[in-house]
Symmetry: C2
């Protein structure tokens, strides 16, 4: 299984400065070999799809599928037991009914496997059987001294090494993925599962490094991963979906350390409501505790709170694009609005006001430059709300107006971001959007886009903006709130770092 995709990160963990107490995670993220328990020769079964995912994504290590029935899968022989494998094995993926898991873990320990991803469910908090199985796992692993466990009840790990190459332990067919610096930790299998093709499909240029589903977190929890990602230089942005904190003080301390490293943490927390908490069946805290707890976490950690899965990925995508385009330095709560519609501009202004963002006035020089775009019968606003329709009518060039106005706005030291509303129609309102990319590189400031027009055309335009890493939003409110949430976290960071 040695292959041409061998790349920098995967086996280079020796050069990482991960401290001893976290080095056990190297077996999960930098394995040289993996055993897949429950691998099936039936292509409809999940145990087949795990092996298929590993092969489709050109996993850099060796794959040993294990199944007592034997046979072959995708050209690989099925071993009847992991003890039959001659090679050493770093990592196990265990996809078998819960009752078989303890024996397999024992075999893994005997074989010297360092880590196991237990995807099987049935170890839950509710019911005596689950408790017995958990107790057994603790006992045979000597409290995880003999082998470390991710899960149970999880979709495991996605670790992208380069575009289309990596380790994929989920049983959901995973799309080809761009490599990047976004890491996700999730207490649900949803992100490494049904939602994966969605956010990667909508954001084909979003670069991922890791997605880790921690399931019931019998052993490894969110804090282990968060801390590891602080040391891992390939990670710059961390999204977390959590149903209950393992150790909230530790979490706050780690997120504060993340600020020191200029890494962003975006948090989605469920279980605010009694039903929501019951649905996750993983904690028993009352509503009041949860609400005040989460407020305290945000207040003390300065991480970004997402409202739902949609927003979690909108924010992660946006920050990733800021980093990719070298526009990640967000210092001022000041925006310019460039719009085809005074009404849309007014709505965006209102949302800026509600989020305490400022629309500054232009200085004399920039105002003079702006005025040149406008007809004699219509002056631009003195403040940074540029309604470009009269200028387009005057100059008869949509592109010239949009590019010039954006250039003028971004050039102002008093403006941090441009909220650009774009009308797109492939027949008559065509712009070479790469010119916006040039402006971003020139001014090192971001542009957030709200696009509308012919629906089929804008689906195509969204993919053009993806390529130049300009974040696109569906609504006026979303464009403003996303920026505002990022700004407020950066404001916290600036204060925190000035106190160090």
């Amino acid at each position: 299984m040695l292959n041409k995709f061998l790349c920098h990160n995967h086996f280079d963990y020796l050069f990482m400065t991960v401290p001893n107490h976290l080095s056990f995670l190297d077996a999960f993220f930098h394995s040289k070999s993996v055993a897949v328990f429950g691998a099936s020769t039936n292509s409809q079964k999940s145990g087949y799809k795990i092996v298929e995912n590993l092969m489709n994504h050109h996993y850099l290590g060796k794959i040993y599928p294990i199944n007592p029935r034997g046979g072959t899968i995708l050209g690989l022989p099925l071993y009847k037991s992991v003890l039959d494998v001659e090679d050493s094995i770093d990592l196990a993926i265990i996809f078998v009914p819960n009752v078989h898991v303890v024996q397999i873990v024992k075999d893994c320990i005997q074989k010297g496997v360092k880590g196991a991803i237990i995807e099987a469910a049935g170890f839950g908090e509710v019911g005596i059987k689950g408790k017995n199985l958990r107790d057994e796992l603790r006992r045979v692993t000597e409290n995880f001294a003999k082998i470390r466990i991710l899960g149970p009840n999880c979709t495991g790990i996605t670790a992208v090494e380069e575009d289309g190459v990596g380790f994929f332990s989920s049983f959901i067919p995973m799309a080809k993925t761009k490599a990047g610096s976004l890491a996700i930790v999730s207490q649900s299998g949803f992100i490494n599962g049904a939602y994966y093709p969605d956010f990667t499909g909508r954001n084909p240029q979003l670069g991922l490094r890791y997605v880790v589903a921690i399931g019931n977190k019998l052993d490894i929890n969110e804090n282990h991963l968060l801390e590891y990602f602080l040391y891992d230089e390939s990670v710059s942005t961390i999204g977390i979906y959590i149903e209950s904190f393992k150790d909230v003080r530790k979490f706050i301390s780690l997120t504060r350390r993340a600020h020191k490293n200029n890494k962003d943490v975006i948090l989605l927390r469920s279980g605010f409501s009694p039903i929501g908490a019951k649905a996750t069946t993983s904690h028993t805290g009352s509503l009041a505790e949860n609400s005040s707890l989460i407020k305290a976490v945000i207040y003390q950690s300065g991480c970004i709170l997402a409202d739902d899965f949609w927003e979690l990925f909108q924010i992660c995508r946006t920050i990733s694009f800021l980093k990719d385009t070298n526009t990640n330095s967000i210092k001022l709560p000041k925006a310019a609005i460039i719009t085809i519609s005074g009404a849309a501009g007014a709505i965006i202004s209102d949302w800026c006001h509600r989020n305490e963002l400022i629309i500054p006035e232009f200085d004399g020089e920039r105002y003079a430059r702006l005025k040149e775009l406008y007809p004699p019968w219509m002056d631009p606003n003195p403040f940074a709300l540029i309604d470009y329709w009269p200028a387009v009518e005057h100059l008869k060039s949509y592109e010239k107006v949009v590019i010039s106005a954006t250039d003028i706005a971004l050039s102002s030291p008093d403006i941090q971001v441009v909220f650009l509303t774009v009308y797109y129609n492939s027949k008559s309102w065509v712009v070479d959007w790469n010119k916006l990319k040039t402006l971003i590189e020139k001014h090192k400031k971001p542009i957030f886009v709200w696009i509308f027009g012919d629906y089929q055309d804008i689906l195509k335009a969204e993919m053009i903006f993806q390529k130049i890493k300009i974040p696109v939003f569906n609504s006026e409110k979303e464009i403003v709130q996303t920026f505002s949430k990022i700004y407020k976290s950066r404001e916290f960071r600036a204060k925190l770092n000035s106190n160090f």
Copy 2:
């Protein structure tokens, strides 16, 4: 121009019960002939596109393009003056520079034209020239006794008679549109302009009746239109974008009357912020006045407040679909969540809680039916949060589980709506969604969908849901908040109507 598309509504206004003081609007909505001033033979000019829009949408009346230069446009002769037209003319569309407007209005009065849509700008609140032109218009029209004026500075009227047929006065090429019962009033040209292809493209099954841009509302204002739509039986839902109220007491009184008629009013109001207010340049009220005013309007009118243009159309679309599917009777703040992911279910539960929506418990009979879908090792929740993944694994049929669970939930007298999260992948997770339509018809209750999966597949699936008029949302928060806003307005209505 008599044609095969002749349909019920357009000329039938004699049978409408519109009172005398509003009958002047018939000339705008039921014209038998229209003169287009500023019609151009140059296909790149807006004055050409207006005539093109009218012809492309098979306007049911006669079109008389007017231009002193003469010539022909799209097979029609250009008249040098409206006074040269032998036929009588109901309505004028005036798309010429502002300085020519007064003379044209004089000609229209002489000709006996009843209404004029003035699309030209340059009559604004700012500047002496605008004021003079407004004063002149008031004088020559004898305060609009001689002719009624829509605008100036507007994109006029869209009036859809049947699918693809209607009156379209905008200079933006307008997409073919479904006929329906949604009417929009907008103080901005945006909705009849750049945003039109967007919301109609995203919602090809959204039926429109009218979109009216009121511009500077020199004469006709939002209250005239709102009141007219209360009488017009072809209108059932009314969306309003407004920058300043003409007469807020009247507005509140009309929206309360709308409740009596079971017509919904969805309001988007800009100008909450100083910059937003300045951007619209149409009013001078302070921020504090605006914020408290709008709160008072919502409190007293029970209309639905939209956050931005995106949400305005999400809500209008949703209510239109409720009406189209006979599921518009929303009486209980009670929802069932049907989800592939416990995590997504928990997030939706949390948003239900924040919006004071209840997730009830199932009664014994329904719980027993639900339990039959589940494997012996996993019971469903006793409350209406159905995590269907174990059931799909058990029954090996996604369709059977989703359809059965939805049927059970909708059958409960204690459940008003199902929030259904759908994983869609055209290769392996295929469902005949028409079965959901059958359930909606059976139970007369709505289903709101949040869909995710392979992005290209879900774009197709969204269009399938459009066809069966099931509203689809992008996010967990949006699905809950949309229902909650509709419910709260209906709760207001129930109280109001019980007091009559």
